[in-house]
Symmetry: C2
Subunit: 384 residues, 2 copies
């Protein structure tokens, strides 16, 4: 929703309303270039996942339409990116029967929408619908390469049954090594990357032997995409959070804190006189999210609800958001704060634990590049 009392376009991070999402363009483009270069070396076709960025402006930098192939996590994202010119879109969440009518509208509008299933009932519902509506679906079977979320293990007895249920709409296999987030070093990321590739090759070989050749073998996660694991036979790689990175990804060694491209700009709204190590900001559970994924990284790496930078993005060592309420965040410093530091009305930037849910609370990015000047406002699509 736009504000009922619109402000003139903000020219500086000193004048934008807080809390809001700040995007460092230089870091974004460096992250995009680094991933593109790595995948070019590996010989992989890239299908960036826009579930984190959810922005046509960012999508144009990562995989420009109409040729660019992208991945999405919701049908609203698919509809939004289709509206902005993309034609090659993978909806990489198991497709439930209730979503078939919206998928049909996308297919009829000319979008080449790749869908995913992992159960005979979902596949049969899709096939019956496609035949009744005279639509050409292209559907991959989701494979579980060890993550334990969704998908069939590659050696699953059900694998061929799902392909049979899909019939002419079977297009291949896809997996996501989400358990790369449990690893802590490049060796671990490579192990999961190998598991992704092996699972797809095993599943595709079994399907091929049963008369179902795969034209799509799609895999990826940000940590595994940056490994050197052989991609022979793999047709595409997916990754999303790498565009922004976050404190959790830095904590597991997938990036550094200097790579993090998004932060939440907040205003200091409280300096309790009897709590000299603390101040309150106007970014709380809603603006930062309640994600505490760094807590499991152990002492010294627990960022609470985010790490604190000054208004220019310089990290303030030791300062963390340790508690959040709906619209308040509590910043705690290991040592008493100087009276002149972080005064009421000053601004800070919070590096998010997990960029995806933090960004999802905001409807736009205020784009900067090393200075406080706002170069652009890029809108996002949220919801379903």
């Amino acid at each position: 929703m736009s504000s009922v009392f619109p402000s003139p376009p903000a020219a500086s991070l000193e004048s934008v309303s807080t809390p809001c999402l700040v995007l460092e363009r230089g870091r974004l483009t460096r992250n995009l270039a680094c991933m593109a270069a790595t995948l070019a070396l590996r010989g992989g076709r890239f299908r960036p996942h826009l579930k984190t960025a959810k922005s046509a402006d960012i999508g144009r930098l990562a995989a420009p339409p109409p040729e660019g192939a992208i991945t999405v996590s919701t049908l609203r994202e698919a509809e939004y990116f289709a509206h902005h010119g993309w034609r090659d879109i993978f909806y990489a969440v198991g497709l439930g029967p209730g979503k078939l009518p919206r998928v049909a509208a996308l297919l009829r509008s000319g979008v080449n929408l790749l869908t995913m299933a992992d159960h005979p009932d979902a596949a049969a519902a899709l096939r019956d619908f496609a035949q009744r509506e005279a639509l050409t679906f292209r559907t991959v079977i989701e494979i579980d390469c060890g993550d334990g979320r969704a998908g069939l293990p590659p050696e699953s007895a059900e694998l061929i049954a799902v392909a049979r249920a899909l019939g002419p709409y079977f297009a291949g296999v896809a997996t996501h090594g989400g358990h790369s987030y449990e690893e802590r070093d490049p060796t671990g990321f490579a192990r999961v990357a190998q598991a992704e590739a092996d699972a797809l090759r095993t599943a595709a070989a079994r399907l091929h032997a049963a008369g179902f050749p795969s034209s799509v073998l799609s895999l990826g996660s940000s940590p595994t995409a940056l490994t050197g694991v052989d991609l022979a036979g793999i047709t595409e790689v997916r990754a999303g959070v790498y565009m922004f990175w976050d404190v959790f990804q830095a904590g597991i060694g997938a990036c550094t804190l200097d790579d993090i491209a998004v932060s939440v700009l907040a205003e200091v709204i409280g300096r309790p006189a009897h709590r000299p190590n603390e101040f309150l900001i106007d970014a709380g559970a809603f603006a930062l999210s309640k994600d505490i994924s760094t807590a499991k990284l152990g002492p010294g790496r627990d960022a609470g609800y985010g790490l604190v930078c000054d208004a220019d993005g310089n990290l303030q060592p030791g300062l963390r958001v340790t508690k959040v309420w709906q619209e308040h965040g509590l910043v705690v410093s290991p040592a008493p704060l100087a009276p002149d530091a972080f005064r009421i009305g000053s601004r800070v930037r919070i590096l998010p634990n997990h960029a995806c849910p933090t960004a999802a609370a905001h409807d736009r990015y205020f784009v900067v590049d090393h200075t406080r000047a706002v170069l652009a406002e890029w809108t996002r699509v949220n919801g379903w």
Copy 2:
């Protein structure tokens, strides 16, 4: 954002797109009536907090405009409710200097906006701005009655200094007994309710003695508002989550599970063959939030990321959402599920741990009343 491919108005919970937010009108109106009746008995003026509902349709039921007095947690809420006709609005978060221009626009539009401060610097910035812009602010001093978030302790040396800094814009005192959420029974809620009232009376007496009489003594939280503590001298009571309640509030004894008015409608999108106690839904971290506040309630009361009901809202004992990813939720049952239960494509409703962040992920309510028929779609205002 509206969908690029809009659907016709949904007539039933069987046809709406999932995940989405369902609001049981009967429970909402019962919760509103119960609070209104309690406060009428206590003789308190009510200023409902719309930070949870964030909807003009719900606001009209709770405190109809233009006379209705309401509370908000963001300036975007204030602007939205002002646009919908409200004139008596309390922005109950400490006002940072960066927000003064938007407050000025609201005041100039005729809104009687009550603001809040707890620091001499914030008060001085407000006073200087008000004088320069020739605006009449009305500002209360935030009092900490034991919650430990923001506000001055009632006996604080700074209290009079903040009133002096506010000068002619001083209007009174306000507090929020948020530590009522740490209590577990009516005796505990009453203890915090007493702390709220005592803190305001102490602070107001000190301010009065220093020449600053209070016209506003504002307090409240949902658990404390429903106690019988004497409100003599208190001018208004605030509460918000009581409109919807949630699993956490039921866990501390502030309501029952039958009082919970909101749930997230989700579709079953996965039934892993080798995990007979589990299924996957299309409501994950974004649709449910990552709030795990019931975890601290201990074994037997930890609802994970939410409790599971069937599509008609009947609780399914023992079923919980135990893990979430961005767009997936994992439901685990204590016993293996019958093959015909929770089949792919069937729908469930998830009772939220914490109604506020769950609702904040959604742009509308699908309003029902004991059946699956959708009676209305009520939009919400999110963001800042």
